[in-house]
């Protein structure tokens, strides 16, 4: 998995990385587009369907917590062992726009191949998200 799906803007950021870091990576242009809105984000949340009992328990426990308590709850919850389907559900809820911001933010700070591998994964998931909105 060494292909990065990057927008034209992201490709500029990638090209500004040291040559040694860019070596071995292939870039394909991400042409998908999506205009997000708070209402669309809200609807995606309304469509969230999770099955992992651990995640469902977090949802219940989160009701009415203060931000400090919520942060503590989130810190205690990790994604290891969560089924891929549930992760896909959460990622769809996040949506491509927020992922794009993360990708560009991570690219700006990338210093190692491992960090670029993380970006490859995020970009691949974003690519699938954007493809899903084409001809909807």
């Amino acid at each position: 998995m060494n292909t990065l799906f990057l927008t034209a803007e992201e490709q500029k950021v990638f090209q500004a990385l040291p040559a040694k870091l860019r070596e071995g990576w292939t870039v394909e242009e991400e042409k998908g587009q999506f205009q997000d809105a708070e209402e669309k984000l809200s609807m995606r949340m309304a469509l969230l369907r999770l099955h992992d009992p651990k995640l469902l328990a977090v949802q219940k426990r989160a009701v009415g917590l203060s931000s400090g308590q919520l942060a503590e709850l989130l810190a205690q919850t990790d994604l290891k062992g969560v089924a891929d389907d549930d992760l896909a559900e959460l990622t769809f809820a996040v949506g491509p726009s927020i992922l794009s911001k993360l990708i560009e933010g991570l690219l700006l700070q990338a210093k190692t191949d491992a960090e670029l591998e993380d970006i490859v994964a995020l970009a691949l998931i974003r690519h699938s998200l954007l493809q899903s909105y084409i001809s909807v």
Binding site: M1, D36, A37, E39, K40, S42, M43, R44, M45, A46, L48, L50, L55, V58, Q59, K60, A62, V63, L65, S67, L70, A71, L74, T77, D78, L79, K80, V82, D84, D85, L87, A88, E89, L90, T91, F92, A93, V94, S97, I98, S100, K101, L102, G105, L106, L107, L108, Q109, E117, D118, V120, A121, L122, L124, I125, S128, L129, Q131, Y133, V136
Partner: protein, 191 residues
């Protein structure tokens, strides 16, 4: 404030704010006494959304009585819902397809490991997890939605810093007589 009287657990009545009608699959399912899956299927086509619109509009008078209700707003919400439902179906099929399963498995494994060196990804997903628990029934913009959406408006150089700030408080839903939702089911015989 526009209010409507709601029954309380103690048998009394209380004036509560007239809430907007939110066309989520669960709300429509409860209101029209249809299965959620049936609503989701109808939402995916122009004809199906029109059928839902017509069925809901048969109860316009009742909806206007108990909700802040606008037919054009309903039509628009159904469009937003339809787009999301269709896209989600395509996405879930794509990422679980046999051709992509191996590739996506590596991507998901990578994402699961993010929490170790990119805690903000975990925070983001967890925020969606928690927000999703509320949005099923009343997808009014709440503080966590605004926080998530705000990330999409943030300059990339700042997004990682901003995402590490604690997500806002998620308020507990107001008490309801028979469930954690704001939709009053139709009176008997109107379903």
């Amino acid at each position: 404030m526009d209010t409507v009287q709601r029954s309380q657990p103690d048998g009394g009545k209380k004036d509560v704010e007239r809430m907007p009608f939110k066309a989520t699959p669960e709300v429509i399912s409860q209101f029209l006494e249809l299965k959620v899956d049936e609503v989701l299927t109808q939402m995916q086509s122009v004809g199906g959304r029109e059928q839902l619109f017509v069925k809901l509009m048969e109860h316009e008078e009742y909806l206007r009585k108990i909700h802040d209700f606008n037919p054009e707003e309903l039509r628009r919400q159904l469009e937003v819902a339809g787009e999301a439902v269709s896209a989600k179906e395509k996405f879930m099929k794509d990422v679980t397809s046999p051709e992509k399963k191996t590739m996506m498995r590596r991507a998901w494994d990578r994402m699961k490991g993010f929490a170790l060196h990119h805690p903000i990804i975990a925070v983001l997903l967890m925020a969606c997890l928690v927000a999703g628990g509320y949005a099923t029934w009343h997808y009014a913009g709440n503080t966590i939605m605004a926080w998530l959406h705000g990330l999409a408006e943030t300059a990339p150089a700042d997004v990682l810093r901003r995402a590490t700030e604690a997500p806002p408080i998620i308020p507990a839903p107001p008490p309801a007589p028979s469930g954690p939702w704001h939709v009053s089911p139709l009176p008997p015989g109107l379903g």
